[in-house]
C-alpha cells in the first residue's frame, strides 16, 4: 500500500466521521449513540490501517515528511477528540478535532509528498519515533487547549461563565505541556547521541523552545494570585500562534535557512 491508495481512505474516514457526528446531533436515543461510537472508531481504524500498511511498504517508519507528520497528527487529534468526548461529553470539542483531522488528511490528499523512501543516516535512531510521537501528541493537546481558549473568549464576550472552560483548558495545557517537555528532552538526548551536543540553537530548536516558554508563561500566569481570565485566554491564543510558526512557519523564516529540521 502506498500513497496511491490514499484517496480511498481519505473519503472512507471522512465519511465515517461525518456520519458519526450527524447521528450525534440528532435527538439522542441510546441505540443511535452506539452506532455513532462505532462509526467514529472505525474512521480512526481506517486511517490507522492505511498508516500501518504505508509503514510496511516504505520499510521505514512514516515520520519523516510533512505529509507523514500530518497523517499522525490526524490520527492522534481524532483519538484525543474521541477520548475527551467520552470523558467530558463535549460535542464541539469532538467536532473540532474531527474537523482538524479531516483538514489534515485532505491537505495530504491535495498536496501529496514525493514518494521518497530514503531516510538519512542521522534519522535512523531509536530516539526518532518517540521524539516525533510525543511532539505530535503535545501539539494535538495544545491545539485543543487553544480551541478551548477561544471558546472561553467567546463565552466571555457573551458575558457567560467561563469557569468550567478554563479549568478544562488548564488540564489540557498541563498534559500538552508535559508532552512538549518530553519532546524537547528526547530531542536533546537524541541530538547528543547523533551530533555530539544536546542543544545547538538550531532554528527549529529555538522555536520549539519558544513554544515551550509561552505555555510555561500560561501555566504560571494561571497559578498566580493576580490572574485575569481574559489575559490568560489571550496568552493561550498567542501561544498557539508561536506553536504554528514553530511547526509550519519555520520553513519560511530567514533565520531558518540552515536548519537540519526543515522538512524536505
Amino acid at each position: 500500500m502506498t500513497w496511491l491508495n490514499y484517496p480511498f481512505f481519505v473519503f472512507l474516514t471522512s465519511g465515517l466521521w461525518i456520519a458519526g457526528l450527524l447521528i450525534l446531533l440528532l435527538p439522542k436515543t441510546s441505540k443511535l449513540r452506539i452506532i455513532s461510537d462505532i462509526l467514529l472508531i472505525c474512521g480512526v481504524l481506517s486511517l490507522l490501517y492505511f498508516t500501518v500498511y504505508l509503514w510496511i511498504s516504505l520499510e521505514r517508519p512514516p515520520f519523516r515528511t510533512l505529509a507523514e507528520t500530518r497523517l499522525w497528527y490526524a490520527i492522534f487529534i481524532s483519538v484525543i477528540g474521541i477520548i475527551l468526548f467520552y470523558r467530558w461529553k463535549l460535542v464541539w470539542m469532538l467536532s473540532y478535532c474531527l474537523f482538524m483531522s479531516i483538514l489534515f488528511i485532505f491537505i495530504n490528499y491535495l498536496n501529496p509528498d514525493t514518494f521518497d523512501k530514503t531516510l538519512m543516516p542521522a534519522l535512523q535512531s531509536p530516539w526518532f519515533i518517540p521524539h516525533v510521537i510525543v511532539y505530535i501528541i503535545g501539539y494535538a493537546f495544545l491545539a485543543v487547549s487553544s480551541l478551548t481558549g477561544i471558546k472561553g473568549l467567546y463565552l466571555l464576550s457573551k458575558g457567560k461563565s467561563v469557569e468550567k472552560t478554563i479549568k478544562l483548558a488548564d488540564n489540557i495545557v498541563y498534559i500538552g505541556f508535559a508532552f512538549l517537555t518530553f519532546g524537547l528532552l528526547f530531542g536533546a538526548l537524541w541530538a547528543k547521541e547523533a551530533w555530539g551536543h544536546y542543544w545547538t540553537w538550531d532554528p527549529k530548536e529555538t522555536w520549539s523552545f519558544l513554544t515551550w516558554m509561552v505555555y510555561l508563561l500560561f501555566i504560571h500566569f494561571r497559578i498566580s494570585k493576580k490572574k485575569n481570565i481574559r489575559s490568560s485566554l489571550w496568552i493561550l491564543a498567542l501561544a498557539f500562534v508561536v506553536l504554528l510558526i514553530c511547526w509550519f512557519g519555520i520553513n519560511y523564516l530567514p533565520s531558518a535557512q540552515t536548519s537540519v529540521h526543515v522538512y524536505s
Binding site: P121, G196, K226, S255
Partner: protein, 422 residues
Amino acid sequence: MEQRFKSISQKRRFWQFPWGYKESFLISFAILLIGFLIEYISDGKGISLPGWPVNLFIILFFIVFLIITSKYVKHPIIKWVSSTQAAISSISVLTFLILLMGFIPQENQNVIPFIRKIGLSHVTHSLPYFLCSFYLLIILGFTIVRRFLPFTIKNFAFFLNHAGLWIVVVAASLGSADLWRLNMQLFENKTNFVAYDTRGNPFKMPFALKLLNFSIEEYPPNIALMDNKTKTLKIKKGDKLIDVTKDKITRIGNWEIVIDKYIESAIKDSVGYDTSSNVGAVPAVYLIAENTQTNEKRKGWVTCGSFLMTPEILILNDEYSVAMTIPRAKKYSSEIRVFNNVEDFTDIVIEVNKPKKVNGWNIYQSGYNEKMGKWSNMSIVELVRDPWLPVVYTGIFMMLAGAVYLVWMGRWKRTKDIHTDS
C-alpha cells in the same frame, strides 16, 4: 467620602512592597536594557564563561547564597523573588529575547552593525542573554528553596520540574566552558593525533587514531526525467521516483520506460557496462524507452557517474532525458584503532548515531569525502569531551519524571485555588 479615602489609603503605591507585575516587569526589562547597553559599549564582543574549577565554585556559591539568604534574610524582596509575578516577568523577558533570536539569523556576517553591537546576532553568548538567564535562575532558585519543605508528593513533583530545569540550565551554561568539540580527519591506514576546533586551532589528543576501514552502504539509485536545458530533474511534489531495483516498467508522460538491466557496480567497456568492483565503479541501468504516441524508441545506458566516470543520460527528445540520481548514503561507518601508546591499542567501530567512548572522549562519525562517495578513504570524526554531561542528564531525567507527574495528574488542585478562584 470615607469610603473613597479608605480605598486610596489601601492602594499600594508603585515600588511599595509587596511588588507586583509592574515592578517585576520593570526590573526584568531594565536588566535586558542594561545587557544591551553593556554589550553595545563592549562592541558586541559577547561574553565567555569561566571554566573548571571556577565554574564549580560559582555554582556552589550560588546554591549556598540561595539557601542562606532565603532562610535568614527577612526582607520583602526575598518574598518577591520567589513570587509568580517575578517568575512571569523573568520568563517573559527571556522569551522576548529568544523571540528576537528566532527572527534574526544567528552567526551571520552580513547583519546590520547595530544588531551585532547589541548582541542580537549572537544571542546565546551575548550579555543580555546571560543577564536574563541569570535573573531567571535567581528567581527559580529562590522559588525552589522556599517550596522545598514540607516534603510532600506534590512538592516533590514541583521540585523535580523546577530543580531539574535549574540544574540543566546551570550545568549546561556554566559547563559549556569545559566542553570540547574537535574534528579530526582520518585517512585509511594513516595514524593521526591532531584535532581542530571550529576556529581551526590545532590540539594534540592524548591518544592517536588510525582509520582501518571506512565503508558506506547506499540506497539503490532512482531514475527520473531531466530537463535538457536547465540540467535539473523534473520532479514535482507527488511525482514518483523510479526505484531501479523494483519498478521494471514505468510511464513518464508519453514514454514507457523499461529497465532492461541493472548492475549495482559497473565499469564502462567497449560495448557498454560490465560488473566490476573497481574503484569508481557506478550503478548502471540499461533502459529501453518507447514513445507510445510516435513509437519512437530510445535505448542506452544510464549512470549517475562517480568521481572517476562521467554520468550518462538517455536523451529522449530535444527537451528531456532520463537521468539517474546519485545514490544516497544509508549508513556509513569507520573501523578505527585507538592507540594509547604504540603497544596499547583497542579497535572500535563508529557509525552515525552510534558513537564510542574512549578515555573520557566520545568519538562520533561525522562525515567523509562526499565527492568520492562510497570510495572515500577519508573519514571525519568528531571528538567530544563533556565532563558536565552527567549533571545535565540528572536534570533532564528529573524533568522527565516531573513531566510524567504532570501527565498523570493534569492540573492538580492547589490550596491557593480555594482563596483565589472565587
